[in-house]
Symmetry: C2
Subunit: 226 residues, 2 copies
DNA sequence: CCACGATATAAGATGCATCAAATGCGCGTT
DNA sequence: AACGCGCATTTGATGCATCTTATATCGTGG
């Protein structure tokens, strides 16, 4: 990813950060889980320092919280917080889609189509992990096509916060996660900004309905913990 | 302030982070300046650890960059990057204004008016520091009124990136920085979401024109500025 | 039997020593 | 005199020891 470019040096801290981000997005942590620096250090085979660096960065991203000075946890997403994030995503991913529609090249479209195709396969195989990754890849492709690196950074922060929730709910979403991606691609092909923004809005609102349902029914997650 | 609540513990790292954020926003650092951990540690009277924590967090916010593994600098804002940030702010602060217009109480309006009044005084006194702080306070009051803490976090990240630029340009903006705040307050009084969003857009576009001018004219700032 | 408190343990904060690498300066050579 | 190579210094990375404090548990008293 040349867009991330200068941020990523190959030091341990950044590696650990990337690892924990992946773990978060893959749903390896459940909301409410407690994190212990020394424990993670042992698991990842490093000293506590890179872990501490990462924890601090993730806390800055609000992907984890310090419930008390010694109690580091994966936050539980509240309904109001999810709705706020959804409002923000509607604006931001809408902007990305609008801009992308204006500048998308043949190659960009093909990249999107490839992602969706692979996503279909992942769903057919009931591969939750690959499905969530490809869904995310699709959403991040738009600001990348739009050449908006700042936007990518902001969305990364939002997705980190939603990570545990999404990974936990994805399977229940079924095909609704991907059906709304096709109109997005179609709008981009036609270079129609308004349609692109609307299609993304549909995806966020309708495709994300399973997330909202889950939060509204506000229940205890089944222990599929991994 | 229950809105900031859980983030802020009174440990050294967070104090240093707050201090450096302030310094950034107050324009105490110039774009291109190099930061040295040990140097900052000596200036702030701490060990290197809390400084390192802070540097890492600020790098995560993209408020500072690692040009090379040992070369930590305040980034120079490019014209395209500023335009991207402006697009994002239009959407996000627009959203904040829309929402705030729907829920603003008498007390909220009064708080906004107080900020603007103080800002007038600061301008009259040619107090750049107080002026930039109050301008920022006004902009952050909207998402706070709207009760959107996630949005506050995102905007904080954006303002951190703009900090050195704004502080550097504020005086040239003159009254244009504040003139557009009055229509915002007016729209909030009338609980008119669309007008509020439009007023904020005017403020960002017109009030921020000085920033854009500066970037357009200074396409090639000699970094050996001495 | 319950409640309060003290103590022990655990876990993050802080400081610091060491390591590795990048940069800059100086010397030597052409 | 200019360019290039090498060494010294600077500086962030990493690991670790210690310190502080929060929490939990156990014991004692009411």
């Amino acid at each position: 990813m040349p867009t991330l470019g200068p941020v990523d040096y190959e030091n341990l801290s950044n590696t650990v950060y990337a690892t924990l981000c992946d773990a978060l997005i893959q749903g390896r942590f459940q909301p409410g889980d407690r994190l212990k620096i020394r424990e993670l250090a042992e698991q990842l085979g490093t000293s506590v320092t890179p872990i501490r660096d990462t924890i601090l960065r993730l806390a800055n991203d609000e992907a984890i919280i310090f419930r008390s000075p010694r109690d580091i946890r994966i936050p539980v997403m509240s309904l109001t917080r999810y709705r706020e994030i959804r409002s923000i995503r509607l604006k931001l991913e809408g902007l990305a889609a609008e801009t992308a529609a204006q500048v998308a090249t043949k190659a960009d479209i093909e990249a999107l189509e490839r992602i969706v195709r692979e996503n279909e396969e992942a769903i057919a195989d009931a591969n939750r992990l690959k499905g969530t990754e490809l869904n995310q890849a699709f959403h991040f492709m738009l600001p990348q096509i739009a050449q908006m690196p700042v936007l990518v950074g902001i969305l990364r922060k939002l997705w980190l916060q939603m990570g545990p929730l999404i990974a936990d709910t994805y399977l229940q979403g079924g095909r609704s996660m991907i059906d709304y991606h096709y109109p997005v691609i179609d709008a981009l092909k036609r270079h129609h900004s308004a349609d692109a923004a609307m299609a993304v809005a549909d995806d966020i609102l309708l495709g994300g309905k399973a997330l909202l349902d889950r939060l509204e029914n506000n229940s205890e997650p089944p222990e599929g913990a991994q």
